[in-house]
């Protein structure tokens, strides 16, 4: 009898669990999100100079006179994109990264528990847009937690990225060239970070790789569509409000006696005296630190070419003998 009761209770519990999970799955809704802001960064081309990297901010700091405050606001980041406006780029060439893209993901549609997520990026394969062998691209999805401005080809330092568990995008040619990846490994980070960054996969690229992928921003007209993030979001159940009885049990603020008259001396407030003018700073403002240029040693791709002079040296007498040989046939 007891066994029958326990068996029946187990079946009922299993049925309730299945029903609840089914009901929970039905609560998840699929949302599609396009980035609200896109930006792509490239290495500073002046970093190879003997003076080091030159940025607009460092140039302004070297001016003998300060910039008048009534001048119109000049953006400190000068865009240097040689590609069409409205295109984002991720590229790797000659053993180093030459472009990376940042996409800010709006969180208004991610209000809930993200069950699954995927990213699809339609590619602009036109050579005029900079695309080169996108099928060889090794692009990794990372996350970042900074605010970015919509800029193309910025040479400023890009925001820091976190690439742990970041999936790699896979190239698919049909029906249209695109990059696709499942973001389940970083779905929790999609709600807590500013967005995703597309960078060359440092663990997969080799020194001889050379590829360049280009895709459109969300506001580019008449071209391939922008990157689309598809997520299955399950709304989180609201927690019940705390009971008022608990609040009433806390003592009121008026009843709290901090004992200020007990004679304890907390000392004067630790407020530093700020200087009134710039002379108190004790000298000129230090110039921005510029990273030293790095040198990459690259060997010879075809070392056997060094034997060519010897081969030519042997060929010269052979050719001379051939050109002076009697060619009459008996």
């Amino acid at each position: 009898m007891i066994r029958r009761v326990l068996a029946a209770a187990g079946v009922i519990a299993l049925a309730v669990g299945v029903a609840s999970s089914a009901g929970a799955a039905d609560d998840a809704k699929t949302v599609t999100i396009t980035p609200s802001t896109e930006a792509w960064y490239q290495p500073n081309p002046t970093c190879g100079l003997p003076v080091g990297c030159v940025t607009p901010a460092s140039v302004l700091a070297l001016l003998p006179v300060p910039v008048p405050v009534d001048l119109p606001a000049v953006p400190l980041t000068v865009p240097l994109s040689p590609y069409p406006t409205g295109t984002m780029h991720v590229a790797y060439t000659g053993g180093r990264e030459t472009a990376r893209a940042y996409l800010t993901i709006p969180h208004d549609k991610l209000d809930g528990e993200i069950v699954s997520a995927s990213l699809e990026i339609p590619l602009d394969t036109s050579p005029a847009s900079g695309s080169a062998v996108p099928q060889n691209a090794r692009v990794q999805v990372c996350t970042f937690s900074s605010d970015i401005a919509a800029i193309e080809g910025s040479i400023e330092n890009p925001p820091f990225t976190l690439c742990t568990d970041g999936p790699e995008l896979k190239y698919e040619a049909t029906p249209k060239p695109r990059l696709h990846a499942s973001l389940n490994s970083i779905r929790d980070a999609l709600r807590t970070t500013s967005g995703i960054a597309l960078v060359p996969n440092a663990d997969a690229v080799t020194a001889t790789d050379a590829w360049h992928v280009a895709f459109s921003t969300h506001d580019r007209k008449g071209a391939t569509g922008p990157a689309v993030l598809t997520a299955s979001v399950r709304p989180v159940a609201e927690e019940p409000a705390a009971e008022e009885e608990i609040v009433d049990e806390l003592p009121s603020f008026d009843e709290f006696d901090p004992g200020l008259d007990s004679g304890l001396d907390f000392g004067s407030a630790l407020v530093p005296e700020l200087p009134v003018d710039g002379d108190d700073l004790g000298g000129d403002v230090a110039a921005p630190v510029t990273p030293a240029s790095t040198t990459v040693e690259s060997g010879y791709a075809y070392g056997v070419v060094w034997l060519l002079p010897l081969v030519l040296l042997l060929l010269v007498p052979i050719i001379a003998r051939s050109l002076t040989k009697d060619l009459r046939v008996s």
Partner: protein, 99 residues
């Protein structure tokens, strides 16, 4: 003196050598093209173009020039041999006449 050659024609080995030099030039052009197309960095493309493409073009020109020169020498040698044979036949006919 009758020049002997494994190929029958004494010009054949040198013609093959010069053709191989021209073919090597085309191969060098192809290698330079492949290396230049593999990268987007101009600093890496320039050596490939100079060594492979321009060097290969030089080999093609040199090989083709030597091949043409050797071919002309071969035709001239055959013509000379025909003239020599004709002169020998004429000389033999004169000797027989005198006898």
């Amino acid at each position: 003196m009758k020049p002997t050659s494994r190929f029958g024609d004494p010009a054949t080995p040198s013609l093959l050598l010069f053709a191989a030099i021209a073919a090597g030039g085309f191969v060098a052009i192809g290698i330079g093209w492949k290396v230049a197309a593999r990268t987007l960095v101009v600093a890496y493309q320039v050596p490939a173009i100079v060594s492979g493409c321009i060097g290969g073009l030089a080999l093609v020109v040199i090989g083709a020039s030597l091949f043409a020169a050797q071919l002309n020498r071969r035709w001239a040698a055959r013509e000379q041999a025909e003239y020599d044979a004709l002169l020998q036949a004429a000389s033999a006919a004169v000797v027989r006449r005198r006898k």
